[in-house]
């Protein structure tokens, strides 16, 4: 069954603004990853945060993880038109075959208006 749920489903902002996307999940995890998918393309890995980490940065990306609330957020600062894409969170289980398996949410479609 589906693990992650992104919120909002769609987000439209002006260039230069910050974009925040949230993800909730249901079971215990080894790590949580965020991916970007441009229209008609494959997914590109953005950032991975482990279950013992609370915050991680990569360029204009900031990811937080709250394991007590089973939630994560992705913040994109100073957005650009090129950030327009769908963003997915994916969780990795903490045991057995699930530790190799990415379970994706439905994604947030971000539109950055120039």
């Amino acid at each position: 069954s589906q693990q992650g749920e992104e919120d909002p489903q769609a987000l439209s902002i002006q260039e230069g603004e910050n974009a925040t996307m949230n993800c909730s999940y249901k079971t215990s995890i080894n790590n949580l990853q965020w991916y970007r998918q441009n229209s008609g393309r494959g997914l590109v890995h953005l950032i991975l945060i482990r279950s013992n980490e609370r915050e991680k940065h990569s360029g204009r990306l900031r990811v937080t993880l709250d394991t007590s609330k089973k939630s994560s957020s992705l913040l994109i600062t100073a957005s650009r038109a090129a950030d327009t894409a769908s963003y997915f969170c994916a969780t990795v289980g903490d045991s057995g075959a699930g530790s190799y398996q990415l379970t994706f949410g439905k994604g947030t479609k971000l539109s950055v208006i120039p």
Partner: protein, 113 residues
Amino acid sequence: DTAVSQTPKYLVTQMGNDKSIKCEQNLGHDTMYWYKQDSKKFLKIMFSYNNKELIINETVPNRFSPKSPDKAHLNLHINSLELGDSAVYFCASSRAVPGNEQFFGPGTRLTVL
């Protein structure tokens, strides 16, 4: 120098036909995956292979069969195609480390008429 490649990019076929989608990765990864993305953009894992051994087999119809001639290739064969098989299929690969990031191919859009 493409990391994960898939062929064909588009596949249009009639119901009942048998088709294959090919995937190759040049990253030296040990584990490869197939995902199905439906019309609502929901991605669901179908199979993964680690060193030519199937390690995950989700509840997909047995009309779908993954075939891995070597660790750089994982092909997807589909028998007796149905309308509901229409979707985008993505191949991915990763190092055989639990929870590692995955590298995705560009996808194959399958349309069953």
